[in-house]
Symmetry: C2
């Protein structure tokens, strides 16, 4: 492996001989010599390279080194006289791998809109913003694994293709092996799914939770980290048809343990990214959204507030605010309510627990009041809901009747019910959308700009 | 978090007070006291717990503690007089969370076939074999991330849903939002995909390589680790419809660098798993396949042999063996040929390079002989092909004509070709199926037993 530019910028010493490889970001021709800035994608900052006229074939080399061209440079590090950089590279030999036609190249020196960059997603990683996003995204993902692995959680791969449609988290994509021009029909003229690849209707998963619960019932602590899907026709800056989700699940854990873990998790991930990508995070704070660093510090440094849904409703009813959506016990909290609680009342992250059962999923544990379930949502300032979780219903009879209440056929969930028959245990977990987390961390407005190749209605390019 | 049993077994000291939680594996009632073996999924070995008659409500507790029941035990560690275990737990208080009806519970004390266990995939993690598999699977996955992250590779999430079908690696699953009973048709009576969610035909990905190449052209070194799909109707012990794949991609890398990285990668992963799951690996060697440890050591300790395809053909032609598939230059190597090379001739892993272009993919770099491409396959003793990779064609004109030769519309790959127009660089990568790797590591025969919830023809249960 050659020297990565990030290591040279951080640790390079004058007079060291190095070889770097990368792409030209800018070129500045002066009379006596030429400056080029080279990036290899390892850091926000480029390495400045000085090419002197005594370099072999100088004029020809310079001509070819336009923005986007790829090259290797061998040379010697020298202290930089320029402000804001400590080191630069004095070139001794240059190898050009690929030129880049300046007339054609879509990434010109000027600033490009993020909308435009989406149309050239195969090149946008070469820009400052998308470069920083993808490095932070990687650090964030690594923080997730490291957090759970240090605690002895197993990473479990729950299925992507599923025959179960009972999670009810939105519209499902169908997965089929049929030729859609010629679908086998049964006697009633309906699709004959017994002829399809899996012998029944199959979908793309909307959540790995139910299968993660299976794994927690054998391995105690597990987490998923994989793609999930929604076929919702939502063309918004917060929705993707395909996104990655993280779902830890813990046996022998109640709602309090769930809250503790979620808080510890968020603090860990934000701290990890600040520690590992300081330049990228400063860039976001400076260029994208100036609340990014304050938000991160707020999450890292504060004990999260904890209130029940009922307490939250009381607070909202008592406050001297007029909300667009009227507040009363039983409503789903709207964004304006969540923002008031996190940003104005607590001014830090707040965990709201014990929501009315009617607005939550069938698998959440019924509380003694028979009206609420052991659910939790974490709301963060300037961010909104970032995590949702619950203690799961571990009592067979209550779970079965909740399933029937929701008009789900218990036969469809025979294995889920089985877990409550054979050594059932209190257990809990939570879920968060990975792209939302990266959005929150970077301050990037549109979720399409925090995933390499977004899938949205009418768009599956690249 | 409570104490995990693996930590108690490894580090627990007599007279320590501990609390454990888990599921009863076996119970042995003697006159004066009762032994139970408890597992929490953290290790192959169970913790032996001794319940004395002076325990409150002894008889009732014992009755409820059948195989499969879940409980918490608080007590004191004592040195074990029994052979093969150093420590056991003397119970002081027992909390039973969930009983388990012995008549119904499918996991009886007897040995169950792996085939049977597949039908109860929601419980099979509680058996020795599947427990060990899932722990090794997790360690293996963690080794993958750690290996690449230490080297500064970014984990990139390439898309699962894709509109491109030109990889040609097998049959594709269709992803659609249509109601299959009522599909919109165009003038010719064909499916009108412009009405579908993505506005065109969409599939589940068979490989993230082409998109990984995009990311390598911005970030130099990247890897994918995500699910991929094949709609092949192959009911074999080596095929899954849904499996996880690892695909590193390196800019500024040729076939030699590719081989070096692949060798280092395999050694690292095998060593990591031996270091982190020694008991599980011994179990596989003892109970599943007695070549497992020798294979791992062979991979870890040997420099892999390296030969060209042409040399391999010469070796096979010269050897005193009759193969079922006759050997001649141009053939695809069959399993019997690969086994001869790795097991009999070299007796260690061997990397075969520079295959005939006609049996390899369009994106592999054409060699100067115009007949072969810069491909590589790694063959391992008792394992067969474990990795396939190549240097990619970075020259625009040659790539374009290879694409046309394969009857692919270059328009479909406009972005892939663009990478060769704007600062193209030599680059290379490889791919391996994660489940195959776990199979090889554990000696498990059937690939359905190394993934939590296998998807195969006519099966998408759980």
């Amino acid at each position: 492996m050659n020297n990565r530019i990030i290591n040279i910028l951080r640790q390079g010493k004058p007079e060291e001989k190095v070889k770097i490889q990368g792409w030209v970001r800018t070129k500045r021709e002066l009379k006596e010599f030429t400056f080029i800035e080279v990036s290899d994608g390892s850091s926000l900052a480029n390495l400045q390279v000085i090419l002197n006229q005594d370099l072999p074939d100088y004029n020809n080399v310079i001509k070819k080194l336009s923005t986007g061209a790829s090259l290797a440079v061998e040379g010697v590090l020298v202290e930089s006289p320029a402000k804001g950089q400590k080191i630069e590279l004095h070139a001794q030999t240059i190898t050009i791998y690929g030129e880049c036609d300046g007339k054609d190249y879509p990434l010109q020196k000027k600033r490009h809109s993020l909308e435009f960059l989406r149309t050239i997603a195969h090149l946008r990683g070469r820009t400052n913003t998308l470069g920083a996003v993808m490095r932070v995204r990687n650090a964030c993902a690594q923080a997730v694994h490291q957090f759970f692995q240090e605690k002895g959680f197993l990473w479990v791969h729950t299925p992507i293709i599923t025959a179960s449609d009972c999670e009810g988290a939105g519209e499902l994509f169908t997965v089929t092996n049929f030729n859609l021009d010629n679908i086998p029909r049964n006697d009633q003229g309906k699709t004959d799914y017994t002829e399809d690849f899996f012998g029944k209707k199959a979908y793309l998963t909307v959540s790995g939770q139910l299968e993660a619960e299976i794994m927690a019932m054998s391995f105690e602590n597990v987490y998923t980290f994989g793609p999930t899907f929604r076929a919702e026709n939502s063309n918004t800056s917060r929705h993707l048809a395909e996104f990655w989700m993280i779902e830890p699940e813990m046996a022998f854990c109640d709602l309090e343990g769930d809250q503790n873990l979620a808080q510890e998790f968020l603090k860990y991930v934000f701290k990890y990214v600040l520690d590992h990508c300081p330049e990228d995070m400063e860039f976001f704070n400076l260029r994208i959204n100036n609340t990014v660093l304050a938000n991160a510090e707020n999450i890292i440094n504060n004990e999260f507030a904890r209130i029940t849904y009922t307490e939250a409703i009381n607070l909202l009813e008592k406050c001297d605010r007029t909300f667009q959506f009227p507040v009363e016990w039983g409503i789903d909290l709207q964004s304006e309510h969540e923002r008031y609680l996190a940003e104005e009342y607590f001014k830090k992250p707040v965990i709201v627990t014990n929501y009315p059962k009617d607005i939550k999923a069938f698998y959440m544990r019924l509380n003694e009041d028979q009206k609420t379930v052991a659910a939790m949502d974490i709301l963060a300032p300037n961010i909104g809901e970032i995590i949702g979780g619950s203690q799961r219903e571990e009592r067979y009879d209550i779970l079965e009747s909740r399933i029937k209440e929701m008009n789900i056929d218990p036969q469809e969930l025979w294995w889920y019910l089985d877990l409550r028959r054979y050594g059932t245990v209190p257990h809990a977990g939570f879920g968060l959308g990975f792209e939302r987390l990266v959005q929150f961390m970077t301050g990037i407005d549109n979720i399409r700009d925090v995933i390499p190749f977004p899938r949205t209605p009418m768009n599956a390019e690249f």
